[in-house]
Symmetry: C2
Subunit: 415 residues, 2 copies
């Protein structure tokens, strides 16, 4: 008796979350003798809660293959965190009810730490309610902050985007500094962990090359030392390039730029740290600045995705299906690194309880002693993740990003 | 008696200004029997005024060839405008003095409208002072605002970057809109002319697709109509993607976001229009927003340069040398379009007096009647300019951008 599967995307999407979807769907199609249809949640887990699911069996093989080079979330994602079992047991029960109605025995949840927590609870409650569901998490976060897995698919491509972009902008600033902009600031994502900011450091292999300063969430912002460093850099190189994480904080813990609003997960909505830092440079040093805010561009930049990241994003999806069919439950697929150089990796797995609701910060030894740069150890870790280019096909000068039909599965339950 | 040449980059650099340099230098090397060394201005025209020139003959053929895939300005550029002949005749005389001392009979000036004015005056004064200099302008501006030439090298690559980026970000926003960001704003360059903002429109070929709103400098900002349009788009599509030009103005002429400072050309320094627009959406419509500011990333993004733009940037440099050697003076090379589809072009030339200090705005018929989008005529004009990809070589996951030795020419004059 083969059961169906349910796949959902969760949280902020990435340039390669659809690559993982492609891995899940193509692998499930190869095992049509053991697994039924794969339904996808329209707008993530919300699609299961509202019984608004997409029948992926209605998509052609070509459409599924095109997911491999298409950014965004093909079925819709959601910033929606299920509360604890005690607080909102009804929501979990509803999930199981929908799964039961559609004979869904496999739950593939593609997200970060919050999502792994949800998958874990669904696995527990299904058993408790007499409808066991095999729950397999598929890691995804541009922030690279999931524990255990060597890296999170999505991160390598942001890392490559940020490193390439700051390298290019630095060449621009360097050539103009004599008469124009002296300080250039690139604001990047990374609420609590400085991995993306660290990736900017990949651009500066040679001593003295940009970026001259990286501001990490892990290192409390020291106004005086920062301004001195900017000033020194301008004196020495004529210009200064700064990469600043949106999560950079004052010593007392407050973000440099809090917008004052919170998202559905209760996280503070950030934005504008670049203008805060620029304003400081303007008022204290009187230097001409420019700043860029990469925002969503960085996490959707499939056009400059890392080939390694694409390969891993596919592999964590593919392996999730294989492990589920082999009877593994309550696990997340993970990337296991066995060598830095040459870079070697394979896909492993880890119990969901070990990754749920945890964040992996940058180790202190990855940040230089002065707090403004990355160490050789960090470079050895990061460099393999941005290797290779995996360009999408183009037509009329633009990438041919795929679209799905997203046909609804007829509902069987009421509200 | 073969004379030397002087090449200088001017104003904001682009992803392909070095491609034009490559065209000049490679072509001059091919005509070593008719033209001597090419000296480049260190930091643009300032290098000539201070007799700080770079001897490009010291660079290998490989280093010159690498300019073809390297963004920024390889010799340094400058925001430095020579004043009128009456106001500052001494500066022009100094230029001629330096040219005479180094036997420079050819002046190749790679820049925008201000630079063409300078080249024109140098041509006039050289003759007047008995040291005739053949002056040939090479068009460059990301703003695409030079008259006569069909397009300006540099623009096609920004256009491609902006169209690709907003297409990618729109996929991200579309997949998250149900529970997260409803409005995404991308701020792009273009102080007075909306060409770059228009390029965002290339991403939205199908009706209803993003960007849903483009704000042009040519169309006075209408607060009420804009907010209604945002609201309608969110209602119809669940989300709204906006491309806003930094040069967007209030009806009375004031920029939406003036930073209050001015650059060396006396132009107002802009920045932050995205946050102004976002703030308006937040306060009036209460919608969750995100915004990106592409800033220098857009004009240095050689990694996603348009192949057509690269080819044209080379050709305007190559042809400048050929025309100069054929005795043409006081001209600028230009791109002449002979057909939209299939796209056909060749390099022509135009008298400097026709392009100096002039700006080419978007024609009103390129903007839809409602002022928020581009017309089919605009699309027919823009689409050929972003055709083809011209990827740089990569090593260790990053582009191999070239660097020059930039050896100084020994000075012959004092200050």
């Amino acid at each position: 008796m083969k059961q169906n599967g349910f796949y959902a995307q969760s949280g902020g999407v990435t340039a390669v979350i659809n690559v993982s979807a492609c891995g899940v769907l193509e692998t499930a199609r190869m095992h049509g003798d053991r697994i039924g249809k794969i339904y996808a949640g329209r707008n993530g887990i919300i699609g299961a809660l509202t019984e608004d699911m997409i029948d992926t069996s209605q998509e052609t093989d070509e459409a599924i293959a095109a997911l491999r080079h298409t950014p965004g979330g093909a079925f819709g994602s959601a910033r929606y965190k299920l509360k604890g079992l005690d607080e909102n047991r009804a929501e979990y029960e509803r999930l199981i009810e929908v799964f039961r109605a559609h004979d869904i025995g496999y739950f593939f949840y593609n997200g970060g730490g919050d999502s792994m927590d949800t998958a874990h609870k669904v696995s527990q409650l299904g058993t408790e309610l007499g409808f066991p569901v095999t729950c397999v998490g598929i890691p995804k976060t541009v922030d690279n902050d999931l524990p255990v897995t060597d890296t999170c698919p999505g991160f390598g491509s942001v890392a490559k985007y940020v490193a390439v972009s700051i390298m290019e902008a630095a060449l621009d600033v360097a050539s103009m500094a004599k008469t124009s902009t002296r300080v250039f600031i690139l604001e990047v994502m990374g609420r609590h962990a400085g991995w993306i900011a660290a990736a900017a450091g990949l651009a500066g292999k040679d001593p003295g090359s940009a970026p001259h300063i990286i501001l990490f969430p892990e290192i409390p912002f020291d106004r005086g030392r920062f301004l001195k460093r900017v000033s020194d850099s301008v004196q020495r190189h004529e210009y200064c390039v700064v990469a600043v994480s949106e999560g950079t904080r004052h010593p007392e813990g407050r973000f440099l730029a809090e917008a004052g609003t919170r998202d559905a997960f209760g996280h503070a909505q950030l934005g504008g740290v670049a203008s805060t830092v620029a304003g400081l440079i303007q008022s204290e040093l009187g230097l001409k600045y420019h700043y860029a805010i990469a925002d969503y561009l960085q996490r959707s930049a499939r056009h400059i995705a890392s080939a390694v990241d694409v390969e891993q994003a596919y592999a964590v999806g593919e392996k999730a299906v294989e492990l589920a069919l082999d009877g593994h439950n309550a696990i997340m697929t993970s990337v296991v690194r066995t060598s830095d150089s040459p870079y070697r990796w394979h896909i492993g797995h880890v119990g969901l309880e070990k990754v749920a609701n945890q964040e992996k910060m940058m180790p202190r030894e990855f940040i230089t002693e002065d707090g403004f740069g990355i160490t050789e150890a960090c470079r050895r870790y990061l460099e393999p993740l941005i290797q290779g280019e995996d360009y999408p096909p183009y037509r009329d000068g633009l990438p041919c990003y795929g679209g799905l039909r997203n046909v609804a599965v007829p509902a069987k339950l009421g509200d």
